[in-house]
Subunit: 448 residues, 2 copies
């Protein structure tokens, strides 16, 4: 039996009650970490334009948009909610593969929740399966000797497969149809990092969410697809990585969980910037240097930090996501990171730019991706230095449930009424007792 | 100015009247060659299932389905019509890159034709631009020293870019927005050949058609995208081919036309099988050997023929598309190829199988892709041999306009009433005088 079929069988046969309690709790944490993002992003200009383009083509308006009053058809809801969730780059990251697994699957599930009644546990279970599948497929590809070409936006590559898995589970696909759903999604897997720093970046994960629904419904209708869509001779695997290790798709399946190695971003910027930001915040909180007294900042980071997030002078907040210089400057000036700093105004703030322009960064190939060092030279000659072994939010330094609660509160503030924000947080943590997952949408959709 | 922007500028600035007459006529030929395919394919099981899955989600039913009575929203019409057009693998092929360029663009245009009034020349012009763009982008990628990984289904990779170009032209995008449309489509470019031999193959070009519309409408709404989506450091190019020659995207643009090197399939099978089929038909017509008298058949073909179409014992007509053995056997038995032979019954016909099982094939690396040799050994010891320098339908042996007319007539027979089929053929050849391209749909949609 090939790896894709083993995955399909697991998705179909798995039982929520049989997942380890830690995995079930971690799935809730992944969802709490994520759900604030599309609500916050719902009022973004990217969303306004995407919705303006797609709304005239909407089918039956069976699905809510998060943080917005409009309703739209499920395929477009999946796409739009997922796009919104990726705008601030503040969701989750499976560090080994740098994918953001929750968005495509959670968006596909929420788009279905009003159409196909599912309980809270059924929702969480489908989400857990999808996250696990996405991480495992990405891990198989990332295991190639030459690694994956950094130009691939891997969330786009595996996100549709995860979304198909979750939607397929909710639709009750049998093993053959589940495999077809995976295969149809794999045939549409796409995404390049050239989009990063532009609005189009947010479409990559978004399209994966829609593709997953598409794949699940087509598979349900009996559209047949290849038996080995990822690991086959001309499958997705050989397109993405030369020499992928497909055994990673299935090794220890149901016993060990990549989902437990999914990290939650503490800052709305590329994950590879987080170690440097952690160091900057620690120095700023411990020593409170006046921003204007900072003469020079030296960063030492993993090469991928500069490769992916090395923009020196971002022109707007989207480009800012990919600038370690910008976010370290914000951390040093404000001594805290909250979502309202993710703005064009912050990018253009002369006080931030003044600090930013005093930062030099150097790549150190021997560093881990979540490791960094920061050295400040102050006007009086004082040198402050901090070595960060693991970034905040990394596997070794996970946020507490309370941290995730605070992040969700920060993200929904000003979008949802305070009582709704609180109700949403309570509901999310108690989702495994909820009779109907659509209750999430009652709280998370914008007032009509 | 980068290559993608030069393409965008050309798409926006080009004028139909300024294209060489031969190019304008060839665009009509490409359309006449193609339009029978979705009409024929409209009653296929793949279509029934795809439509059943997607119809419940249809938005405003502003677009006709070819050969069917139903109407559906334009995005889904683009997808479904293009899927139908690829079922028999009987459309066109740009031989240098093995892409089938007309389907995604023509499907996107027809999906828009009732919503955005366009004249026949506007329709043909947008189609010409799209075909040219698809072929040029594919050529740039195919120029890489290591060639393109054969696992890529290149029509999926470039089809969305072409569809975006054609839709964007009809929507009147300016240069910046046209570039964004190309970039959004490029970010969603996808497709693996592992799908070949399954229903999912037909979704690859189909999704490209839809993606092109999606990209054009999102770009029109102001969604911004990268400036160098194909040729950029992390763009589509480096994902598909190591060392692509992006100058092929623009060299001689508006002067020399890849569209003139687009071939029209004379047989409903993979293009790489056509030289062998041509030889089989020539021997069969010239010598009329009784099928049961054929003791052995030896084929010598380009390696890609066996790589892509080397299935010895196809289990159904879809797999049969990828079997040079099957189609050479059909040619030897029936001495002609028409669309009704593309059937599961033909695949299972013992008389076909008896010939098929006597065929041996050998790859000859020095052959051109459109070159083959066939040698028959008859029961009486007679040896018949034919060397085919160029397959029928190849660039050097193009079908006449009358051949294309006969192909269209063959494809629509039994789907459209005879008078409608004739009216459609007349209209297509006179499209450059038609005031409204939607007239195509009046003839080509199924009776309601």
């Amino acid at each position: 039996m090939n790896e894709s079929r083993i995955l399909a069988r697991w998705i179909v046969d798995s039982r929520w009650e049989e997942l380890p309690p830690a995995v079930r709790h971690e799935t809730k944490r992944a969802f709490v970490n994520w759900i604030g993002n599309p609500i916050w992003g719902a009022r973004d200009v990217v969303m306004e334009r995407t919705l303006a383009a797609l709304d005239p083509f909407s089918g039956p308006r069976e699905a809510a948009l998060l943080g917005r009053p409009e309703r739209i058809d499920p395929f477009k809801a999946a796409l739009i909610n997922c796009a919104a969730s990726s705008i601030a780059d503040y969701d989750d990251t499976h560090l080994e593969t740098v994918i953001h697994p929750t968005g495509p699957a959670a968006s596909a599930l929420l788009a279905l929740a009003e159409r196909h009644r599912m309980s809270g546990p059924e929702f969480l279970h489908a989400l857990a399966l999808a996250i696990e599948v996405e991480c495992r497929v990405a891990k198989a590809l990332a295991a190639a000797p030459a690694r994956v070409n950094v130009a691939w936006y891997m969330t786009g590559v595996v996100g549709g497969i995860g979304a198909a898995a979750s939607a397929g589970r909710v639709l009750g696909l049998d093993q053959d149809r589940m495999l077809n759903a995976i295969a149809i999604a794999a045939a549409r897997a796409a995404g390049s990092r050239e989009t990063h720093g532009t609005m189009a970046k947010n479409l990559v994960a978004a399209c994966a969410a829609e593709d997953g629904l598409f794949a699940a419904f087509l598979a349900r209708a009996g559209v047949l697809a290849p038996e080995a869509p990822i690991e086959g001779k001309r499958g997705l695997g050989v397109l993405v990585a030369d020499g992928a290790d497909y055994t990673a798709m299935t090794a220890g399946l149901g016993q060990s969980f990549e989902l437990m190695r999914n990290a939650y971003k503490p800052y709305p910027s590329g994950i590879v910037t987080h170690a440097a930001i952690t160091g900057a915040l620690e120095l700023a909180r411990d020593h409170a240097p006046a921003p204007e007294a900072i003469r020079a900042v030296r960063l030492t980071v993993h090469p991928l930090c500069l490769e992916l997030c090395g923009r020196r002078a971002p022109k707007d907040r989207i480009e800012g996501t990919f600038s370690v210089y910008h976010w370290v400057a914000v951390a040093l000036r404000d001594r805290a990171i909250v979502i309202r700093q993710f703005s064009d105004a912050t990018i253009a703030d002369p006080a931030v730019i003044a600090v930013r322009d005093r930062i030099e960064a150097r790549a150190e190939p021997h560093y881990r991706r979540d490791e960094a060092e920061i050295e400040l030279t102050l006007a009086d000659g004082t040198i402050l230095r901090r070595h960060v072994d693991h970034a905040a939010g990394a596997f070794e330094r996970p946020p507490s449930d309370a941290d995730l609660d605070a992040k969700l509160a920060d993200l929904v503030e000003g979008v949802l009424p305070p009582a709704r924000g609180q109700a949403l947080r309570n509901l999310c943590w108690r989702l495994d007792d909820a009779p109907d997952a659509a209750a999430i949408l009652t709280e998370a959709a914008g007032a009509r």
